[in-house]
């Protein structure tokens, strides 16, 4: 079971599903398929001309995609907490939000709240490959965001 995070996670909109998630949803047993509301049943037939089961499997693939986004938000948050930990006790990650790009909300010193946006590609590089130069790029954005830019040239 994953450890509970000390920060909030928000995913705006519906993240796109990937091929592997569609395949996994296609192979899921009936018992795992999400229920459909009356409205969804109508939409499935009228707008998409799909059977209820096909629509359920599409919905399940999107659920998988949403879960993946939340897991990546948690991973990103833990990375950012590591960076903030190096700055001392005056900084706290409040929230990670995903949507058209990643956003961080950080409680900084003097009761200041910093909002930092991080490009998708950078987050992918940090989480999937973890090359030190990409971790440094994330660190630079966080340092600038929380007003500790004097440290940017030192690491």
């Amino acid at each position: 079971m994953a450890a509970e995070n000390s920060f909030e996670i928000y995913i705006r909109g519906v993240p796109g599903d990937r091929e592997d998630e569609r395949r996994r949803a296609d192979q899921a047993p009936q018992s795992e398929l999400p229920p459909l509301s009356g409205e969804e049943k109508k939409v499935a037939k009228k707008l998409f001309d799909r059977t209820e089961e096909q629509y359920q499997r599409s919905k399940l693939a999107l659920d998988y995609a949403g879960q993946r986004s939340k897991e990546r938000a948690a991973m990103l948050g833990r990375r950012v907490q590591e960076i903030l930990g190096e700055l001392g006790p005056g900084y706290r990650l409040v929230a990670v939000a995903g949507g058209d790009r990643w956003a961080l909300k950080i409680q900084a010193e003097h009761d200041r709240t910093a909002s930092i946006t991080v490009p998708f590609e950078l987050v992918d590089d940090v989480l999937d490959f973890g090359a030190s130069q990409d971790v440094d790029r994330l660190k630079n954005l966080v340092l600038f965001g929380v007003g500790r830019q004097e440290l940017i040239l030192k690491h």
């Binding site: 490959f129 004097e150 940017i152």
Partner: protein, 89 residues
């Protein structure tokens, strides 16, 4: 190459030198942190002597002639195997 989050050394184009004369006095080249990039150009934090400024400056794409940065190609970290096993003969 994505520049956001990188410290980059820029050399201004002649048009950039003219346009940014007041923002970057006397400097045909300077170092800056790329805070964000979009279709117009790059939003830069240009360190001052005290490093206290938080002002960011837009550098349009056409306003710089060259840029250099420290780049280290790195091998991706080892990731756990997917579980696939080659069939035995």
């Amino acid at each position: 190459m994505d520049l956001t989050g990188r410290l980059v050394h820029f050399w201004l184009s002649p048009a950039g030198k003219e346009a940014l004369n007041e923002v970057i006095p006397g400097g045909a080249d300077f170092e800056a942190l790329v805070v964000e990039e979009n279709s117009i150009g790059l939003w830069l934090w240009i360190p001052d002597t005290e490093h206290e400024s938080r002002e960011v400056t837009l550098l349009k794409w056409e306003y710089f002639a060259a840029a250099s940065l420290e780049y280290q190609p790195e091998a991706p970290r080892e990731r756990p195997p997917t579980g696939f096993q080659a069939p035995k003969d």
